[in-house]
């Protein structure tokens, strides 16, 4: 089940029922998600301070993407900032397990 855009996705964040997924066909490897994430965590822009790591192969365009356990689905925000700031709508919140 893909979360509706109108759903602020805050209710189940702590229960880890939601996960962020990446549509690699839409992603262009621009790093916006990575920096938005660091801003949520620390109020600064940093690749290292992000829960997300993303890069791409400069010949083929193949995306390498990962999200670590520090992701809190942007607790306190209306929606995860990685989703909000992705210019390509490549990120989605998905229900990981049936509730």
């Amino acid at each position: 089940m893909i979360a509706e855009k109108s759903d602020p996705c805050t209710r189940n964040r702590k229960g880890n029922n939601w996960e962020i997924i990446l549509d690699e066909l839409k992603c262009r490897g621009c790093n916006s998600c990575m920096l938005a994430c660091s801003f949520h965590h620390h109020g600064v822009f940093s690749k290292e301070a992000s829960s997300i790591q993303i890069s791409w192969d400069y010949s083929s365009g193949e995306i390498n993407w990962g999200i670590n356990s520090t992701c809190d689905l942007c607790e306190g925000e209306i929606e995860p900032l990685c989703i909000k700031y992705c210019p390509y709508d490549a990120l989605l919140v998905k229900n990981a397990k049936p509730l």
Partner: protein, 641 residues
């Protein structure tokens, strides 16, 4: 104005590296920010001062190949934040074609990485006795042996450095064989085929025996007023998404603007060394037709750091002589390279651009010098005896690719062409200078005759015939919003170019890409947006009017450098002779040319807008004082001026 708190947006340090003495030190960036903000403007100021301090007197010039020539990298002052499309780096030095201001600009991922490492600028002086590369790992900076990298192509260089340092997240700028061999038009290449082309920045890097600069940054960038800053980012992100032009760029530059039926072909193409500005319809279709042309090789679209336009195509060739080619990048410029050479085979065209990036050569320069050589061949001034049997006929892909390598390695006729057309035509003689197309001594590949604001922007460009210094195409795409003008007429051109050049300086200060700026039809970012972003980001109190003055100040720094080190005058601001004397021969704009009398009037008005002397084109003391550049006036003007 004064900063409301510690300056945000910037990393805070300028890295100085003397490759001769191996001394490495850092200075604070803040000392320059209030006066010049960042990026290109700070680079230009440092360049002026570094060169000036090595002059014995006001008559002394420092040549580009002098080891004291500084090679300066300046990341835009908002790069590293979440500002859309902020990723660009200005590279400034003495121009290898003319000893005037040299400047090139590059996107990709390197700039943000440098800021996360803690540096806004790098100033490289001196010359290493042996090949080296620079390794910046946060505050740990090393000059490392680059002997094993010498001779390698650029992507191979990047792979080798990442392997040696065991970190695939390192971002790299490097030169290829063209830079090593001091080809005047050598470029600096980074990551996904991004190229800092023009002014021979790669040639200067090669002269320093510096193969590459590798960077890894683990730090962060903060802004002065985060809530305000993010609110502006939200607003402009929405505007960017709404822009109809953005959707075009997202399909790729060719599909967005240069498909075979696009009207742009009629007014922005230069054919066979500028013999005409009209490309036959069949040839356009062969090159960029959707079914079999360039677009049919596109596998994916990618983006530079933070860019919502994502205009970078990944092209792949699956069959034939170029089978296995996988490469990012193919721009409008790439079609210009092809049309200039009468080349309409899409695979050869893709491969030519790919090899330019691998050899580290500016495609503009490479295509322009080759086009001149092909015309020499057509006129019988060069024969197969000079070319080792290669037949330089228009559109001969095999000859183009062979000659491209000969330029990069300075082999045979390539050694002559490596000097650029001004010098090459001077050495060859036989009247070949009449069709040697250059501006201020630098090869220029663009068309000049039909779109008057394009031609004029190219001609007043302080770095010599490059269109990213104020050239405007059509009102829907470029120029100040809300003003309509006829692109094929001269009316209002100086005013529009004046505005565009100033705003481009601002964009190079900030470090955002013009495809999301004021030059690409998106019109998603305005000067007011820039002022607000800089105010919230850096913590300065800026409005649109103050910011435009910063832009003018930056342009005046470039102009001052040209006066100081190249003696440029009014005559250097006229277009290439061919485009004044020979009209467009065919197509809907047949008969158009650059009218010298119109240029007289436009230059008068352009200098007047800047407050420069109309007769000489030179800056006056009062025009510099008005912009608080008294120190520059003392540097370049004689007492009697």
């Amino acid at each position: 104005m004064s900063p409301s708190k510690e300056i945000g947006g910037i990393a805070g340090q300028i890295l100085y590296v003397d490759l001769g003495t191996k001394n490495i030190w850092a200075e604070r960036t803040e000392r320059y920010v209030q006066r010049f903000l960042g990026g290109r403007s700070i680079n230009s100021f440092i360049l002026l001062n570094e060169v000036n301090k090595n002059r014995k007197d006001k008559e002394t010039k420092i040549q580009w190949d002098d080891p004291r020539n500084p090679l300066i990298f300046g990341v835009g002052c908002l790069v590293g934040t979440l500002m859309p499309a902020s990723n660009r780096v200005s590279i400034d030095t003495i121009n290898s074609f003319n000893d005037g201001k040299g400047s090139a600009n590059i996107g990709g991922f390197w700039g943000a990485e440098l800021k996360y490492a803690g540096f806004d600028h790098i100033v490289i002086t001196g010359r290493s006795p042996t090949p080296v590369y620079l390794w910046i790992n946060d505050d740990k900076v090393q000059i490392r042996d680059g002997g094993y990298l010498w001779g390698k192509w650029t992507s191979d260089t990047e792979d080798c450095i990442k392997r040696e340092l065991e970190d695939d997240k390192i971002q790299i700028m490097s030169i290829g064989p063209a830079g090593e061999n001091l080809v005047r038009g050598a470029a600096i290449i980074s990551g996904p085929g991004k190229s800092a082309s023009g002014s021979g920045v790669g040639c200067v890097m090669g002269n320093k025996n510096l193969k590459a600069i590798a960077v890894r940054g683990h730090g962060s960038i903060s802004v002065s007023h985060p809530e305000q800053f993010m609110a502006i980012v939200d607003r402009i992100s929405t505007n960017v998404r709404k822009s109809p032009y953005l959707e075009k760029w997202r399909k790729g530059i060719i599909e967005g603007k240069y498909l075979s039926k696009s009207p742009a072909w009629d007014f922005l193409a230069s054919f066979k060394n500028g013999q005409d500005d009209f490309v036959p319809l069949d040839d356009r279709f062969k090159l960029v037709g959707e079914e079999n042309g360039i677009p049919s090789y596109k596998k994916k679209m990618m983006a530079c750091h933070l860019c919502p336009a994502g205009c970078m195509p990944i092209l792949e060739i699956d069959e034939g002589p170029f089978k296995g080619t996988k490469c990012p990048n193919y721009w409008i410029n790439s079609t210009t390279y092809s049309t200039k050479l009468g080349l309409f085979d899409p695979e050869t065209s893709i491969f030519f651009h790919y090899i330019c990036n691998q050899l580290g050569i500016d495609g503009d320069m490479c295509a322009n010098t080759l086009a001149w050589a092909f015309e020499c061949f057509e006129k019988g001034l060069i024969t197969t005896e000079d070319t080792q049997g290669i037949v330089l006929e228009w559109g001969n892909g095999d000859a183009i690719l062979k000659m491209q390598k000969k330029i990069a390695y300075r082999e045979g006729l390539g050694n002559l062409l490596a000097e650029g057309v001004k010098e090459a035509s001077s050495l060859l003689g036989k009247g070949s200078d009449s069709f040697a197309v250059h501006m201020k001594g630098q090869d220029t590949v663009d068309p000049y005759r039909i779109i008057k604001g394009w031609g004029f922007g190219l001609s007043i460009s302080p770095i010599g015939g490059k269109h990213l210094r104020g050239a405007v195409s059509t009102p829907d795409v470029t120029g100040p919003p809300g003003i309509d003008w006829n692109p094929t007429e001269y009316k209002n051109v100086p005013e529009i170019v004046f505005w565009q050049a100033i705003v481009k300086e601002i964009e190079d200060i900030i470090g955002n890409c013009i495809y999301v700026g004021t030059w690409s039809g998106t019109h998603a970012l305005t000067v007011r947006d820039y002022a607000e972003l800089l105010s919230a980001g850096l913590g300065l109190d800026l409005d649109e009017s103050i910011l435009l003055d910063y832009g003018r100040r930056g342009i005046n720094l470039e102009k001052a450098f040209n006066t100081m080190n190249a003696n440029f005058s009014r005559e250097d601001d006229y277009p290439p002779t061919r485009y004044i004397e020979e009209p467009v021969k065919s197509g809907p704009y047949q008969g158009h040319k650059c009218d010298r009398k119109e240029w007289d009037s436009m230059l008068d008005r352009y200098y007047e807008l800047h407050g420069w002397d109309k007769v000489t084109s030179l800056q006056t003391r009062s025009s510099l004082v008005e912009l608080e550049l008294e120190d520059i006036a003392r540097m370049i003007l004689k007492e009697k001026d």
